[in-house]
Symmetry: D2
Subunit: 340 residues, 4 copies
């Protein structure tokens, strides 16, 4: 790895300066712990309003938000339907199964998106031998850097409502989706019963929010959060991070910047002979197919992950602090490498 | 609550300025996520050395460290023996039961300390109807602000070794114990198989370490940590906090200061007629019995918790940033209140 | 152990001849598996009617019924309040914690019975650090061979209703209670939201029923039962056992016989100098204090368990097939032993 | 459904008369509960010897045996690799996930059989984001009525040994495999670390055995069995069932009969134009493709399940009590139906 900008993950970026400043400011004096402080109350009220939600809770990380969110929605015996590419299935080490005892029923999903038709495939009859889905988990923006349109999301939500399924939305990159679709957080949220709103990939040190839309579920969240070890004691420091991200819609600016850099990278790479961009670039990720030899050569100078070795597909992520110069230098090297 | 220093919890204090500075410094440039960065490797190596441990892992909070630590030591069917006052039993909302499925076998424990004799009471025969303890969980410093002497701790460890039990040590306030006993972290740790080392109550924003002493256990920890949602993505910021606490033994200075303030408060309060200090003040907590009317009067001006309403016992905690002036003002008010 | 009647447990008895005959009769021809056969439908309908219940399900054993019953009632984050003597806490190896992740909040309970006052002791405030009880588990007849009166049971139920708690009733010996109180099963059941009805200790080979009283809970039971491995494939053979026990109230005759034998034994033992019966004999158990030397002497000829070694208290159980001659011979030996 | 022999499941058959006789015989007198009786000790010793095993335990049903067996082998954080057709994944309502918190990593498996190559596909790198398999679960005979040859099984076992994976063998129909391969139980068992041996589908009322081959694992089984509610109190009645099945290898005769009937049915059906037998008939199941209209017509007279509606494939099971006349009548109707 070099000193060059990492395209490996939006987690490789540090924190936005405004976030750090807010954390410093929050350090003054004593504050009641575990979220009973004024800053946390103010910030969660802001979140509630932005999402037109029933309640909002701060948690430490994205896996924590996902497991907590599912636990709020799942009846004790129920399973979860999700895309084969869903982070909860592929990248959380079996956390949902371990902590909730739930089974994940995966669905092949082109571009990472579920549809009413693909969900329907995994709904079994009411036979006590078959795991019964209770929740459908969608990711927005998806793990492939695509976004459901609002219409697509509403179709999924409507199908779920008619079939007695609840919707959990993994919003680790919800900001990127909102920026991409140029819509409000509330418009995205109204399609879900519970969702997460990711701060970490958007410029926070480490902070996520769980947003509860459906009334009647909020009372259990504090206990579930504590049991799942997602209750932080000096909560003011989580609150401060969201304070900064919410102020003047910093979250949207950060996401829009990352998205723009991904589009720039996608367009630049697509123009290189021998490089194929395999998913629409609708958020802050570019998935591209290159010759394995070119991948290896590029990885000597740049940090990024091979997504699918067999398919020779890589993933390039941009972040809130990726610059046009970073992208241009990278595209230049891609072009030079592919030409060899 | 007033602007006066809180004696409610060591979690009410903010972060030490050096910790914040280290976090700022860690923000420069990109860093690989999930603990593969150089700073995390350096800090966990330092921890390993300080504890003469097999391995060290950073986690987000104390409940997370406790559940993770128990999970490393427990066989699938086993239960945990702990004191009735143990944080894992009383204050974590049933997290160990929920996430690990383990049963907690509690022991009445004077001053919060287990002994070989009291542990022996909860070891049943090998009958498959009875939950079989596999781990003994001790807290050092205890929830009552007392400390096991090294000799006491070694007796417990020896008893456990002879009886096929492993020792988990909840070290949310291990720094306070090390400062109180004037011993090294390694001396405390050698009595445990796995332990936590708390940063949060010692001046961190929110960071704890899990220390694995017994060889052969470390390989599973990364997976258990991820499953239990205690793996933070931008790990450099956790590492930075410990970097600051470990530099020039800041952790020990912070703990010593908090301890000294508790002793000052304990001595001051004990000298007030009508106030009884009910546990030895060996760390940063003072437990005192006052008349209920005096408690109510004091709580109008100062923030602290009633520990046992029936016994009319309160808990006063000091922190790394409690000053002599804070304590003296508080003692002055205690005296004035008790005199009314 | 000798060929003499065991007073060790009502599980030491075999099956009632009528039960075996019903099992033989059920063997004719094929039958759909997993409870979709006509016999199971008929028997569960009979149970539903006898209990005036919403639904009834057959399961393999008592621990299975208890865990299943609790799982039907508990919200995901909730804990259970039960007596310190409750079988689920003392004799099921931590099964409820393991399979449900729930915490058991135990209450000291004289004669094994909970009261509104003792339950109230374990209800904490709505603080997310404290495990929140959702279910109160009572045992009827209790583990001490006592019975709640209907009035006592109703008081507990009413208190629970007012405090948002649900009632699970462990009815492993419900038949003994119904016989003792001379009441119907429905009268006992109306105090519970879910209860078990034990067949095994009443003369079955191995069969228990789970009875759901509160509407709106039954739909999840088949899935929970299957997940908890309590769904038997050749269900007709469980159904046949209850068919026999329900026919002409065989269950009540069996229970009444066992109860009568316990009363005879209790009265006989109480009349022996040096023997103290320590709990009212209201079902099929006698708890007695004897000199340790006499206990040892008796155990050379008779099979029974020491209940509390420190208190020198033994437990003697009678069963549906205990005879007056068995009891008289035993009392005779008790008398002879105590006289030495 | 008619009075005709069911081809729906080997669970639709009743119990073998010898099994019922043994149960009757076991009813004489009292017996210590929970498996400490002489009959259970004798029978488990016989099982141990037949399998050349470390230990043997009786449980109530097949799902219970599977979950228990996996729990003995899995480290706390580990996942299970199994075929997509594995009963634990498709037909146990998510029991393994629910009770063990483990993730099932499924593998497409032709004829239901895993191979070293297909297993290798699901072994990820040592990255804490990926669920780490610890156990490979094979089924013998498979859910498709095929059998691994001993050579195939040994290859899987050897691959697992070399890759640090343990082998659990779901032997719900192990008897059918042993009869089909004409091998001993010990020859099958030596390829596994833990396996189940099914009695229920072989003519029992309801009884399965868990066989532990690998030394050092047996001590935990009693506690795991109790926690998982698979410990039956009047264990003598489970023991009696295996007593009957083991006497003069009744289990082998029963399995051989069922297998022979399946071969007869398979051969008969395969000779009918328009009927395609889609898997080799190596145990007691026949999978056949028929025209949907013919399936519907046949189901009006005979009981069996459609396995794959889209593929128009049905499953026909034979049992220990299926007769040649049953099969011939069925084949006759298949022929007549297909001719219409």
């Amino acid at each position: 790895m070099t000193q060059r900008k990492s395209f490996g993950s939006d987690n490789h970026a540090g924190a936005h300066p405004d976030v750090l400043r807010a954390v410093m400011a929050a350090n003054a004096g004593d504050a009641v712990a575990y979220g009973a402080d004024e800053r946390t109350e103010r910030v969660t009220a802001e979140l509630r309003e932005a999402f037109r939600a029933d309640s909002a809770f701060l948690v430490a990380n994205g896996s924590g938000a996902n497991v907590l969110g599912l636990s709020v929605l799942l009846r004790r015996h129920e399973a979860v339907i999700c895309a084969e590419s869903a982070h909860i299935d592929t990248d959380e080490c079996g956390s949902a199964e371990r902590l909730l005892g739930t089974k994940l029923l995966t669905v092949p999903a082109r571009d990472g998106k579920l549809t009413p038709e693909s969900i329907a495939e995994r709904i079994p009859g009411h036979d006590d031998h078959f795991a019964q889905p209770g929740v459908v988990a969608v990711t927005q923006a998806t793990e492939f850097g695509t976004c459901y349109t609002l219409a697509e999301l509403r179709k999924v939500a409507e199908f779920c409502r008619l079939n007695g399924l609840r919707v959990y939305l993994d919003g680790a990159r919800l900001a990127n989706a909102a920026a991409s679709l140029d819509c409000t957080l509330a418009e995205l949220a109204e399609c879900a019963d519970v969702l997460s709103f990711g701060g970490t990939k958007n410029g926070a040190i480490g902070a996520e929010a769980l947003i509860v839309m459906r009334p009647g579920l909020s009372d259990a969240v504090p206990y579930l959060r504590k049991q799942q070890t997602q209750l932080m004691s000096k909560m003011r420091f989580l609150a401060a991070q969201f304070e900064a991200l919410l102020r003047d819609d910093l979250w949207r600016h950060n996401a829009a910047r990352a998205n723009a850099m991904a589009r720039r990278l996608g367009a630049g790479a697509a123009a290189v002979p021998g490089v194929e961009v395999v998913h629409p670039v609708q958020a802050n990720a570019v998935f591209a197919r290159l010759h394995p030899r070119h991948i290896a050569a590029l990885q000597r100078e740049w940090f990024f992950h091979v997504w699918d070795e067999r398919e020779s597909v890589v993933r390039w992520m941009t972040a809130f602090d990726t610059t046009g110069a970073d992208v241009d230098a990278f595209v230049c090297d891609i072009r030079a490498t592919a030409a060899r």
